[in-house]
């Protein structure tokens, strides 16, 4: 049993490492992306500075929190593939072409395989398009940094949970291709929801009243708002546990949903001529 477990771990590790290498091949594209993230970081930070100049404690943030938030947004976009993409997109392609039948053959679970690939991608994008734009932001603006090692740990756990939630949603979206032949419509709807309810276009703390409470309970709040609030030290003690707990709950629900949908889909796949 332990041998099997060790085999599983090393297999998924190998998948993640190869996925990391796959994305790291495109140096020029990565540099171009870092440049674009940095430009948008500057633009959004300046817009938020103007907003907080008018209302210095909007949403319980001060201007330094808001500027930091703008840069954390840019860092998270590719890390969690906020616009869509990553390994679930490959799955969608394989469902449309029918290659997914091969994935069902393999003596490895589909969900774990694709998750490992997305983790590899995530780590590459975190190091490149997450860290580098943040450094640019740190040079150009006065940012707030995590207060201590405990906050750093909570932040990175939160980033990992954000990836799991985002992966779960992207995976479900790709799987719609099993039932409707073109998943482009579902993908665009998912992107719209993610852009808005993650707080990328406008921080969730500025959402008014009950609408803000609703937005903070939805899975997309796990994308940026949760890790950003931990980074900024907005939560203490049980607040940290609660934030991570809500993220973990959404991650667990979504991944369980993915596993369930896969089982239903498996019975649906018919190999042409077979």
């Amino acid at each position: 049993m332990t041998r099997r477990l060790r085999g599983d771990v090393s297999l998924h590790l190998a998948v993640a490492v190869r996925s990391f290498r796959r994305y790291s091949t495109y140096t020029a594209a990565t540099a171009a992306g870092i440049f674009t993230n940095s430009v948008f970081g500057v633009i959004n930070a300046l817009v938020l500075i103007a907003v907080w100049k008018e209302n210095p404690d909007a949403g319980g943030y001060d201007v330094r929190d808001a500027v930091t938030y703008a840069w954390l947004c840019q860092a998270m976009i590719m890390t969690i593939a906020l616009w869509g993409g990553g390994s679930p997109q490959d799955l969608g392609q394989r469902i449309r072409t029918g290659d997914v039948a091969m994935d069902f053959y393999r003596p490895v679970g589909i969900l774990g395989w694709y998750l490992a690939a997305d983790v590899g991608r995530c780590i590459f994008h975190l190091v490149s398009r997450g860290v580098v734009p943040t450094l640019v932001g740190a040079v150009l603006f006065d940012l707030r940094y995590p207060a201590g090692p405990g906050v750093w740990v909570a932040f990175f756990v939160s980033v990992f949970l954000a990836l799991l939630v985002s992966f779960g949603i992207r995976f479900v979206v790709s799987m719609t291709a099993f039932w409707i032949l073109d998943d482009a419509g579902a993908a665009i709807l998912a992107t719209a929801l993610a852009l808005f309810f993650s707080g990328l276009t406008v921080p969730l703390v500025l959402f008014p009243g009950w609408f803000g409470d609703l937005a903070r309970a939805l899975p997309w709040a796990a994308y940026i708002q949760a890790p950003a609030d931990l980074w900024l030290g907005k939560h203490h003690g049980w607040g940290v546990v609660g934030t991570l707990g809500l993220q973990a709950l959404w991650a667990a629900l979504l991944l369980a949903g993915c596993a369930l949908l896969l089982r239903v889909a498996e019975r649906k796949v018919v190999v042409q001529g077979g």
């Binding site: 300046l46 419509g185 808005f196």
Partner: protein
């Protein structure tokens, strides 16, 4: 030029017919494009739920800037946005095929797989702009400046899309750099430029003249001529800037095509 436009019209009409072959998918994508762009405006609404004015401009004025910039980029994105895929066409060898056809290369690149769904984005921008226009105190001069603002804005973004895509003649991977200027330019001009530091506004005026998309003419239309230190006639310069950019872009495109040596493998 007439010939080029005719061919462009023929090819896009063909792709428009093709995209309507799957009506459900077409309407879903078009609605999606509308919704995604609307999110930006909902963001502006939420910002104004927290503040009364942004950089000295009220909600209607910001909506005017947002709408005019939105129309300019939506038109450019619809008609020449496909030029962003130049690197992909080069990698797949499709550009070489296009070069031997008797239709101008730029026309083919922009018209290929014409994305009708982007009408969703344009519709959203027009709606916001039209609504914001109802708050403007119109005069014949202002109507004239507003018209030339919209036309020049479209021409400026068209130029930026094409000129920046030419980078891909040299490095096919770096398509995303262009986004910083096109979509970044759209983001910047959706807000009053008074919120940006002076150096940034200078750069947007003299280096990459994105401020002429809507800021300077917009100030005239909104009756806020005093918001910059420039004389009033400077606010009317958008068509001149647009014409210069179009000329420069034609030059860059030609240079790119001349030195293009195919991919080799």
């Amino acid at each position: 030029m007439g010939e080029a436009l005719l061919r462009y019209g023929q090819i896009t009409a063909m792709w428009a017919r093709a995209s309507r072959a799957y009506p459900a998918s077409f309407w879903m994508l078009m609605t999606g494009s509308f919704v995604i762009t609307s999110i930006d405006f909902v963001a502006v609404i939420i910002l104004f739920a927290n503040i009364d004015n942004l950089g000295g401009f009220d909600f209607h004025e910001v909506a005017f800037l947002y709408g005019s910039s939105g129309i300019a980029i939506a038109v450019a994105d619809l008609f020449v946005g496909q030029v962003e895929r130049l690197g992909q066409l080069i990698r797949l060898g499709r550009l070489d095929q296009m070069m031997v056809r008797p239709v101008p290369l730029l026309v083919q690149v922009c018209a290929e797989e014409f994305p009708m769904r982007r009408l969703g984005r344009l519709t959203q921008a027009i709606l916001v702009f039209a609504w914001a226009c109802t708050y403007v105190e119109w005069s014949p001069e202002r109507a004239f400046v507003a018209t030339q603002m919209v036309l020049s804005g479209c021409a400026i973004f068209v130029s930026l899309f094409v000129a920046l895509a030419c980078i891909q003649f040299w490095t096919t991977e770096s398509a995303e750099v262009a986004n910083a200027f096109t979509y970044g330019g759209n983001a910047v001009t959706s807000y009053p430029l008074t919120i940006f530091p002076n150096e940034v506004v200078k750069a947007l005026t003299f280096v990459v003249p994105i401020a002429f998309v809507n800021w300077y003419p917009g100030l005239y239309v909104l009756g806020r001529e005093d918001a910059t230190g420039y004389p009033v006639w400077a606010l009317w310069l958008s068509p001149v800037v647009a014409a210069l950019l179009v000329g420069l872009t034609a030059l860059v495109w030609r240079t790119g095509v001349r030195q293009y040596r195919s991919t080799g493998s």
